[in-house]
């Protein structure tokens, strides 16, 4: 299920529309993840406040979306382009890769809510494929 040229174009075009709201998207997606999938809170026991929209959540949401933006720029070679991020997740953060799927789902839910007219089924499938490919690239160095 690799990204076709059409998928890559769709992702880049859609990213162009939404990147202005990247911080809001990241904040909302992360907030939802922590509420809807409480087991994900285990990775953030060092934060003072895990409530939706809190300062650490907003800051981290921005970090995550910056990473995704970087991935859009490297869409032609996600594995090669994201080696450093993969090493970070594999050796330092050690996030169970199942959680990438969970966060991806919440990003898609937020995109649907914020951009109902642009997030058509065709954009949805390309974004889903992109986030899956991104998750795979992030897992590259795990073992």
């Amino acid at each position: 299920m690799s990204l076709t040229a059409k998928d890559k174009n769709t992702v880049k075009t859609f990213w162009g529309k939404i990147s202005g709201k990247a911080e809001d998207i990241g904040c909302d997606a992360l907030s939802r993840m922590l509420v809807v999938y409480p087991q994900t809170k285990t990775y953030f026991s060092h934060w003072k406040d895990l409530s939706p929209g809190s300062a650490p959540v907003r800051k981290h949401g921005k970090t995550v979306m910056t990473g995704i933006g970087e991935a859009v720029g490297k869409i032609d070679d996600l594995v090669g382009g994201l080696i450093t991020l993969s090493e970070l997740h594999a050796f330092q953060l050690r996030v169970d890769p199942a959680n990438f799927k969970i966060l991806s789902h919440n990003i898609l839910v937020v995109l649907a809510g914020m951009f109902p007219n642009d997030f058509t089924p065709e954009v949805h499938v390309s974004m889903d494929k992109f986030l899956s490919a991104l998750a795979l690239a992030l897992s590259e160095k795990y073992r």
Binding site: V35, V36, L108, V109, G113, P116
Partner: protein, 147 residues
């Protein structure tokens, strides 16, 4: 037995009280067939599924999406015994329709996304949590009679 808080019961009842079955049902199934194209395997007799436009405008798919969405009604009416409420439907999906139960999860995800699309900011994290918990219980019940 699944425990529901009062808040969860209220949130879910509200969703169904305001649910536009025609709109949401048809959109959710169409989206599922487009985003997860392998699900089209169950719809061989449903006419033109050639591309996204064809799927979104296919009246048989729309009608079936509405039918599926109404299938959730029995869960709302039997919140405290969803498992048994779906015993016969589970058998149907396993023995007659031969649907891989992973598809129930795929459709659930599309349903959540279509509802988020319609409700925007009103689809709060708490509402999403209650809704997804509800769907997870239904999905589990539907898969229970498979053997």
């Amino acid at each position: 037995m699944v425990e529901w808080t009062d808040q969860e019961r209220t949130l879910i009842a509200n969703i169904f009280a305001n649910l536009d079955y025609e709109d949401i049902g048809s959109k959710a199934l169409a989206r599922c067939l487009i985003v997860y194209p392998w699900t089209q395997r169950y719809f061989g007799g449903f006419g033109n599924l050639y591309n996204a436009d064809a799927i979104m405008n296919n009246p048989m798919i729309s009608a079936h999406g509405v039918k599926i969405l109404h299938g959730l009604d029995r869960a709302v009416k039997n919140m405290d015994d969803i498992k048994n409420a779906y015993a016969t439907l589970s058998e149907l999906h396993s023995e007659k329709l031969h649907v891989d139960p992973d598809n129930f999860r795929l459709l659930s995800d599309c349903l959540s996304i279509v509802i988020a699309s319609k409700m925007g900011y009103d689809f709060t994290p708490d509402l999403q949590a209650a809704w997804q918990k509800f769907l997870t219980v239904v999905v589990f019940a539907l898969g229970r009679q498979y053997h």
